[in-house]
């Protein structure tokens, strides 16, 4: 048999016919198309039973209740807790993307010990036992040398049981150097003390206020408890007037009823000018002034002599008629409130500006009354017995603090973290041998990063309790990672600016994902490692036991409902704890109050760092809800939401008025060098008509060097690299709202 070409062709045709008549091509086509529609490497999130758990967000001091949606054991979404009185179901951008902070790869997985050079990023995993013995032996060694005061601690806040445990540890150990991250709360507290004799925090009855005069406060940019402020603002859109005094068109300025553009740093002058009109036109609350105030005559004289609208106009660059108009509207409103503290409130500010602004509240008598400014007592739910201190501790505690807070030079404040780097670098105080850092990231969040880094370099032993590989953790010798906020218990005291006391309880919604430990437990365990004199003050089995005992009968309610409002609270109307028992326009708590008006509200120009000739521009940092500036960084989702007018690739854009830019020969989008007396940064120029000529605005919350690229490592510039500090003469707090700068083509 001869196989011809035809035979093969015939076979082929037969085979083709057969295949066509079989399911093979049709099924294969279907399967392949399915395969291309759903690549096997595209993740498929497993489904399961849905549960919802309530807790409190502790990513900022805003104190929002949140509801976490879970699918089996996975947390898949965070929403605001509808019933929580602070946020009523809303969340901010950071709170909403919090799961990225739980599951992100930039977390510290276990206790770590540095093996390479500091900041090099070489670590060795160690056990918790090793980690605790490492810290305790180091601290014991310092204590044995008789210098317990040479250990310092930095905490994100002074409130809450964990911060108090650290403070208590420091006390029985023998160090007065417990410092906290500064904010406008410090200035508000100092101001309330000076003018009202109060030892508490400021609350604002915004829900009942109808006229808000804001001196640069970022009402919708993170000032106070952010979500609560958003809600208050939404109400004001229909009933209420908000006037924003700002040197640039901030988001708040743009969204409020009225924006008054002001020469930067002259807010106190404007407040005094408004006082002038109110007093001159007899618009003030005579009842309050007569019955409840002291020193009015002296204040009146100062105001009438030196702050006429015409004179204020020269200083602040505001038309006198505008000053008069605002003063009349403020005084005519039923419940007006004047507030201050710039932007998000990260920089404490000038105390005399706070006094000048608060004097307005006094003039209209809107203090401790409906729709006014209230004084909240200190959080009193933590009632632990006074610890017994041994001799070493007592001697250590008698030492003056490194930062000088509470000393005769700075009697009105409890912590001055801004002075800490300076004192260390100067070497004028005693050296610091060890530093503990909790819920704080000073190497990123403090002004003049270079100086902070230099100071940290001088401290031989740094322990970080951070959950994340942030800048400070990266520069530590030992990291004892805390659970993240969704994995731990924590008490949450009244959020900033709320007018009534509320206590909330954060509860773990997922099991600890990594080999981390609650810092509260670490402190208790550490105390137990360190011998009787210290462990005696820590009688609790563990942190949860401590918390349960501290909260006592409130635990059950808090556990069930997450929050507990002190419904019996009412402010003491027009009752003050000053020596005179009255509101003091001239603070009797300040010695020689008359000398340069140091104890009286007044305005003086801020001496910004830098020579005007060398640095012709003024640089101000500006914050946004979209960029976290606290101890946690911005999440990947947040960075995705950051505008391309802020960040392009890895370049930060600084805002500048087109006219100013043209004078400098700079064009839109051009690369430039921003130089200030503190540092230098490569930036890009972005024209913005909302910026006052002669000024530059640099976004904060960028330029991380810790975390990873998804969290903004290497993206933009940290504004703290180019801004310094200016010490308030009365309180010692930082009041630098800007710095002199120059911008040159690079």
């Amino acid at each position: 048999m001869k196989l011809s070409r035809r035979c093969f062709l015939s076979f082929g045709i037969g085979a083709a016919a057969g295949i066509t008549l079989s399911p093979l091509p049709w099924k294969l086509t279907d399967d392949i198309s399915i395969w291309t529609q759903m690549w096997p490497w595209t993740p498929v999130p497993p489904d399961g039973a849905y549960t919802y758990e309530n807790t409190v967000c502790t990513l900022c001091p805003g104190g929002c209740g949140i509801t976490v949606r879970k699918v089996d054991e996975r947390a898949v979404q965070i929403a605001g807790m509808e019933e929580h009185p602070v946020n009523k179901g809303g969340t901010c951008i950071l709170g909403n993307s919090g799961l990225q902070l739980l599951y992100g790869p930039f977390r510290v997985e276990a206790p770590m010990k540095r093996t390479g050079e500091r900041g090099e990023g070489r670590w060795k995993r160690i056990s918790w036992k090793e980690a605790l013995s490492e810290v305790s032996s180091k601290l014991n060694q310092i204590r044995a040398s008789g210098n317990p005061h040479q250990v310092a601690a930095v905490s994100g806040s002074k409130e809450g049981t964990v911060a108090r445990l650290i403070n208590r540890f420091m006390t029985v150990y023998g160090s007065p150097n417990f410092m906290t991250e500064p904010s406008i709360q410090d200035s508000y507290e100092a101001m309330l003390y000076l003018m009202q004799g109060a030892t508490g925090s400021a609350g604002f009855d915004f829900e009942n206020a109808d006229y808000i005069l804001s001196f640069g406060s970022g009402i919708i940019e993170g000032w106070g408890a952010p979500v609560r402020m958003f809600l208050a603002n939404s109400n004001w859109r229909t009933k209420g007037t908000v006037v924003q005094v700002d040197s640039r068109l901030s988001n708040t300025a743009a969204k409020m009823d009225r924006w008054i553009s002001i020469e930067p740093g002259t807010e106190a002058a404007l407040a005094m000018g408004i006082s002038h009109v109110i007093i001159k036109e007899n618009l003030y609350n005579k009842g309050f002034i007569k019955e409840a105030s002291e020193g009015f005559d002296q204040y009146k004289k100062l105001v009438l002599d030196a702050y006429s609208p015409a004179r204020v106009s020269d200083v602040a660059g505001i038309d006198p008629s505008v000053i008069e108009e605002v003063a009349r509207a403020f005084a005519a409103s039923k419940h007006p409130i004047a507030i201050c503290g710039r932007g998000k409130g990260d920089v404490p500010g000038n105390i005399h500006e706070f006094m000048a602004v608060h004097a307005l509240n006094a003039l209209v008598g809107n203090i401790n009354s409906k729709g006014g400014v209230w004084t909240l007592p200190k959080n009193e739910y933590i009632r632990w017995p006074h610890p017994i201190m041994d001799k070493v501790a007592s001697l250590g505690m008698q030492q003056e603090r490194v930062d000088g807070a509470g000393s005769k030079d700075y009697p009105y404040v409890q912590s001055l973290l801004n002075r800490f780097p300076k004192k260390i670098n100067e070497g004028s105080a005693y050296p610091i041998e060890a530093l503990l850092v909790y819920n704080s990231n000073p190497l990123y969040s403090m002004p003049d990063t270079k100086a902070v880094q230099a100071a940290f370099d001088k401290i031989p032993f740094i322990v970080s309790f951070s959950s994340y590989m942030d800048e400070t953790a990266k520069n530590a010798d030992l990291i004892l990672p805390n659970h993240t906020y969704l994995e731990r218990y924590e008490d949450v005291p009244t959020p900033n600016g709320l007018q009534y006391p509320i206590l909330s309880l954060a509860k773990p919604v997922v099991k600890p994902q990594l080999n981390t430990m609650h810092t509260g437990d670490v402190i208790i365990k550490l105390a137990k490692c360190m011998g009787n004199s210290i462990s005696g003050a820590f009688g609790w089995k563990d942190y949860k036991g401590c918390l349960k005992q501290t909260l006592g009968s409130r635990w059950n309610q808090l556990y069930k409902k997450v929050y507990d409002v002190d419904s019996g609270f009412a402010p003491n109307k027009w009752v003050f704890e000053t020596p005179s028992g009255k509101f003091e326009f001239v603070s009797s708590l300040v010695k020689n109050a008359d000398e340069n008006n140091i104890g009286i509200p007044h305005y003086y120009p801020t001496a910004l760092e830098g020579d005007e000739k060398k640095y012709p521009l003024i640089m101000v940092p500006y914050g946004s809800m979209k960029r976290a500036t606290g101890y946690v960084g911005s999440t990947p989702f947040m960075l995705k939401a950051v505008s391309d007018e802020t960040l392009v690739k890895n370049d930060v854009l600084v805002q500048i008025n087109p006219k100013t830019a043209q004078n400098l020969g700079l064009s839109q989008g051009e690369s430039a060098t921003l130089t200030t007396p503190v540092g230098e940064a490569q930036v890009k120029v972005n024209f913005n008509e909302g910026i006052r000529p002669g000024m530059i605005a640099t976004p904060t919350g960028l330029g991380h060097t810790g975390y990873d690229e998804y969290m903004g490592n290497g993206k933009g510039v940290n504004a703290n690299q180019v801004i310094g500090t200016v010490e308030d003469p009365l309180t010692g707090l930082n009041m630098a709202w800007g710095i002199r700068a120059k911008l040159t083509r690079s």
Binding site: P43, V227, S261, F637
Partner: protein, 266 residues
């Protein structure tokens, strides 16, 4: 489907966004990303490539300091119903793959990722730029895939995606209703993630045809406007602003542009 309009089960889900209340904080954007498993990359600054179903835009009045004013405008998908409510939205009309569809039952424009073959015709057709193309396969940094929402499927490279008013939440609400013996859902049971998250309560969502729903009244507010009315796309997203320049910016005519047809009333 004309007779469908008389069906009492017919809904027209829509949104009213109060720009006076909106602060531009971006919480809605992030809530949307978390709900809808939107991927992220190391660099998201090229906004033409960055996938955001809901994006907050910044408008300005173009005046010099200190008369400058800005306004934020969150932009989800407009879910256009087209002229005469026939559901011929710009994207649905052009899709050659039947991957995008308009439902007369809910008025929602859907996108089926497995059906889409990535021709991007819809992206060209959409006047609001709400559609995004997946140029890359989504990759989550190790561990982060644990927060993915099982109710939304993860998209693969080569397909287009966009806002669907969190339709999965409608489905979940429906399931609950069925379990309780109901066939209809309440207004509060179906709210997209952005509405739920907004800390300023600036976004309202509901059935535009239902007089009991809040959006019904709000859309008749004198401050209300829609984007690019002149194109007659008939969007279901309404905006409220008390500022005239903002309302005017909603229909951004070119200078001296001739308008031959008066925008129809829908």
């Amino acid at each position: 489907m004309k007779e469908g309009q008389h069906d009492q089960h017919i809904k027209k889900y829509g949104m009213v966004i109060d720009l006076d209340k909106c602060t531009g904080c971006g919480a809605c954007m992030v809530a949307c990303m978390q709900e809808n498993n939107i991927p992220f990359q190391k660099d998201e600054t090229d906004k033409m490539l960055s996938i955001t179903w809901l994006r907050v835009f910044k408008l300005d009045n173009g005046k010099p300091y200190p008369d400058t004013d800005i306004c934020y405008l969150p932009r989800p998908c407009m879910h256009c119903s087209g002229i005469g409510e026939h559901g011929h939205s710009p994207c649905v009309s052009v899709c050659p793959a039947t991957a995008t569809d308009y439902s007369m039952e809910t008025g929602i424009v859907s996108q089926i990722y497995t059906r889409c073959f990535g021709c991007r015709y819809c992206m060209a057709a959409c006047p609001y730029h709400v559609r995004h193309f997946n140029w890359w396969d989504p990759v989550w940094p190790s561990g982060m895939e644990r927060s993915l929402n099982p109710n939304v499927s993860v998209r693969m490279r080569g397909v287009v995606e966009k806002c669907n008013f969190c339709f999965q939440r409608y489905q979940i609400a429906k399931e609950k209703a069925f379990t309780e013996g109901r066939t209809e859902i309440e207004e509060h049971e179906y709210q997209p993630a952005c509405v739920e998250a907004c800390p300023a309560n600036a976004i309202t969502f509901g059935d535009l045809l239902n007089p009991k729903h809040k959006v019904y009244k709000l859309k008749q507010d004198p401050r209300a406007f829609r984007l690019l009315e002149k194109l007659h796309t008939n969007p279901k997203v309404y905006y409220l602003s008390s500022r005239e320049w903002v309302r005017e910016a909603g229909d951004n005519y070119i200078e001296n542009e001739k308008v031959d047809v008066e925008p129809k009333k829908h």
